[in-house]
């Protein structure tokens, strides 16, 4: 098995898995199928875009007839699927139904999975339940680790790349321990277990925190899987936090309850739909009224197909967003699907140092900030780090001009270009420092303006929100507490009007960040701060002091 990473954005990764002459892309979804009783079989899934499926070896093993058949044919022929096949061991039954009477030994089921040539078999782990106490959870984690080691010593089929389950329930310490210890053992994929019930309760904050905890501690060169993640509205956020793979039967389980996935108006019931709000091949062919009259089997099949079309196109959207460096933008859109997703997004801020480490240094086009939550992106943390550790005000500087943010960022504005021309003609130009006010970044020194991402973002400037203000103010304060002594005079430019992008006169908005910077500087360094209506008077003021 080979796992090669082609591109990254946030903690999301586009990769290729090559295994036993099969190939699949990540991030990707393994649709879960029953081993022999499906509305859409494995080959049907392939037509819908599935490169991989997940099925249950335990159910196969318990059925004597099918067991013989699959042992003879191998799982690929048995399912009539030439893509990647992962198999579960029965542990999921245990977890999902709290069924502790799974009558099978690890030796039996693991050896069975090797014999049927599963590409990615799962060991018989001991899933932790969310309600488990620390002690119970700890014992289960240790037992799973033990089983993992035993599994390794028993392995016979070199074509099987084992999935190593990570557990710990709601306890970060256990998740950490499980991740670190499992990383020492050779597995093809590491997979976080015990999440499904949390997904079904929309506990996205909890599951995301579990994911991030594991991601921080797991070996990075293997795919990270989330067992049971099938809600497409959560895919992008999970991928941005490091999830490479997922498996789920949600597409079919929801279809059986006449539930229809959307990424815009929540999960709908078939009977509340007058028109299908979608353009997949199913939804462009039929109307909801027609589908309601169909036989149950056909109805379930069509709804399941729609649910899968939507899931797979969301994965393609996510992969495209990773390639474009737009994954955060996509996530900030998708979290509007549920308030719990918005709450979960806070985790990015809480773990900002971790995310900052992995954030791309350069992206080939500008960022779009269309949410208050945008300010939690790791780039902002990175900028603060830079101000803190790297940035020095040029040595010869004596004077500072602070220029307001206009409708177009930085030097893209004709008005700003005019200002800069005037400044650049000044004889003592070398002693003058120019800083741009920025609603998202607070202050940006002129010499950094061309470097990513400052010159290139389009944000919302009209309404300054709490978080945004806090961030801008934090950077401003930090900068001036550190650097104010370098300046003899600080001039703030607040013109009555300026020429905007459309070549029209416009006023500086009352919400412009420049007023916040003015307030701060006047309250702290009143003696050397002055406000001016134009560049000419600023230069005269500087010269006056010579």
């Amino acid at each position: 098995m080979k796992f090669e990473i082609q591109d990254v954005d946030a903690l999301g990764r586009i990769g290729t898995i090559e295994i036993n002459n099969k190939k699949m892309i990540t991030p990707n979804l393994f649709p879960v199928i029953h081993p022999f009783d499906n509305v859409i079989g494995a080959s049907g899934l392939k037509d819908l875009g599935a490169q991989c499926v997940f099925t249950n070896a335990y159910i196969l093993y318990k059925n004597t007839d099918k067991r013989e058949e699959v042992l003879k044919k191998g799982i690929h022929d048995f399912l009539d699927f030439d893509g990647v096949i992962a198999t579960d061991s029965g542990a999921f039954q245990q977890y999902m139904y709290n069924d502790n009477k799974i009558e099978i030994s690890p030796e039996e089921i693991e050896s069975f999975q090797e014999k049927i040539e599963s590409d990615f078999p799962v060991i018989l782990d001991i899933p932790v339940q969310l309600e488990d106490t620390f002690e119970v959870a700890e014992a289960k984690v240790s037992k799973t680790l033990e089983r993992a080691k035993e599994n390794i010593s028993r392995r016979k089929n070199p074509n099987c790349y084992w999935i190593g389950p990570i557990h710990g329930g709601k306890f970060p310490d256990l998740l950490k321990k499980s991740s670190i210890e499992m990383s020492k053992l050779d597995f093809g994929i590491y997979a976080i277990g015990g999440l499904v019930k949390a997904f079904l309760q929309y506990q996205f904050e909890l599951t995301l925190n579990m994911l991030i905890t594991v991601k921080k501690n797991i070996i990075p060169n293997k795919p990270l899987h989330m067992f049971g993640l099938g809600l497409p509205q959560f895919f992008s956020l999970a991928v941005a936090c490091g999830c490479d793979l997922m498996d789920s039967a949600a597409y079919i389980l929801f279809a059986r309850e006449n539930r229809y996935f959307t990424l815009s108006t929540g999960t709908k019931r078939l009977d509340e739909l007058i028109e299908f709000p979608c353009h997949c091949p199913v939804c462009t062919k039929y109307t909801p009224a027609e589908v309601r009259t169909f036989e149950p089997e056909l109805r379930v099949e069509l709804l399941a197909k729609h649910n899968l079309y939507l899931s797979f196109s969301e994965l393609r959207t996510i992969r495209q967003a990773i390639r474009d460096g737009d994954l955060w933008e996509l996530v900030e859109m998708r979290i509007r699907n549920h308030p719990n997703l918005v709450n979960a997004y806070r985790m990015i801020k809480i773990h900002e140092d971790f995310f900052e480490q992995y954030e791309k240094v350069y992206k080939n086009h500008g960022r779009l900030y269309s949410s208050v939550e945008s300010v939690n992106r790791p780039l902002f943390r990175r900028y603060f780090n830079k101000l803190e550790s790297n940035y020095r005000v040029p040595k010869e500087i004596k004077y500072l001009i602070i220029i307001p943010e206009l409708d177009v960022k930085g030097t893209y504005s004709l008005e700003v270009q005019k200002w800069l021309e005037l400044i650049n003609k000044e004889v003592m130009r070398e002693e003058i420092h120019v800083i741009f006010a920025s609603s998202f970044y607070g202050i940006i020194p002129y010499e950094l303006m061309e470097s990513f991402p400052f010159g290139q973002h389009e944000g919302r400037m009209e309404i300054m929100q709490n978080d945004q203000c806090n961030n801008a103010l934090k950077n401003t304060k930090f900068f001036f507490e550190k650097n104010q002594a370098k300046y003899d005079k600080i001039a703030i430019l607040i013109p009555n009007e300026y020429v905007n992008e459309l070549n029209k006169k416009a006023e500086i908005s009352k919400n412009n960040v420049i007023f916040m910077i003015e307030d701060y500087l006047m309250s702290k360094f009143k003696d050397k701060v002055s406000i001016f209506l134009n560049i000419e008077s600023i230069l005269a003021y500087f010269n006056d002091g010579l």
Copy 2:
């Protein structure tokens, strides 16, 4: 022609237009086609879901051969389209290309449109340009009004329902005048003109303000159309602000430039796509690499089809959202497509009294607040109005208990149920008023809790943002300034912990709105306000005073 409204949400309306034995639903898009030179003809558009098309009568008229043919056949046979057909008069050419040499008279082109049996012809209006001065714009508006009156006096074909253009450019007074005066004249559809260039520059705030100004003043029983609106990311916001119909050639113009619509990662160029992030019949059949190798004509056709599939499914999504009462939820998701859409959304707040008037009184399921911007919805304005004008504290009340917002709203919380049981058992229950703290509404009196929309919203409570705080505080202040004298004692319940939805102990978040209410009440009415850890001590405190 009949226009019947079936359902409404925000200012969006689902309606049916019946005209000349044809039927179409609103909101809807007229794809614009060339009269005789198309990559996708009218019948092809029908297969994609178009119920109506827009074509250009002026181009037909100028072509002698085609003119004879269409006069013989009528426009429906000529285009081979049995749906609704609207025709333009040449004024759009004038507007778009500032071409003042349109050599045609209103008499000629309007009579021509009647002869070819256009369902919705447009009069030869004089479009206002955005850069026109007030005087120039005013003259154009007057001229268009004059032409409208002349048109009415000349009408011969009773099967033609004329489209009346509304103009005014960026001047609200002119838009208002144009709307009021045109409303007095009999037109089938009223249509706002002069917008295309603003759409292309993403000036959504300006165009939305123009739309709202017209909507406020136009006769309400006719469809309101926006000429040239074809960017699907703007559809939902425009519909929420009263747009019933739109027409555009963007699907094909963009396709010619290899541009591909998305509603999640911006408009893409074909050459930057590795996978199609979509599941329409085109995108599930081909890969971007394949489409790039196709002949230009096929390539443009496929991209245009994708663009239309997306446009039509967005319209179905919008109509479903209107039926579900979820249009604001959808809009708050779609505005993330561009910061200018977020800025434009401010218009809802600015015109909140207008939107409040039309907001549905009852919706059959709860609201979802997943954005800071949610607080701008008209429902919040309505609540304030109610507090202001209707609400009275029950007469016998002497004491007040304020209960914090927990993870589940109001009485859905088991913990809150326990508190209420204790309160209800109290002998002097009738003298006790109960108020719920609410991060979105500030305070909600218990007796209103069951009425829409209080009991039924799912919001984000964890992070209080500026706008949200302001709204909660505004209601809280207003309520207590008006009603505080009714209470001898005010008790605020702030328990150390509570039992949450998952039956686990949880702490009250530091960001809980109860702390803001506490701060406010302590600063204003310190003498009668006390904080308690449990209901029992509150009741003891009240009894103590007897």
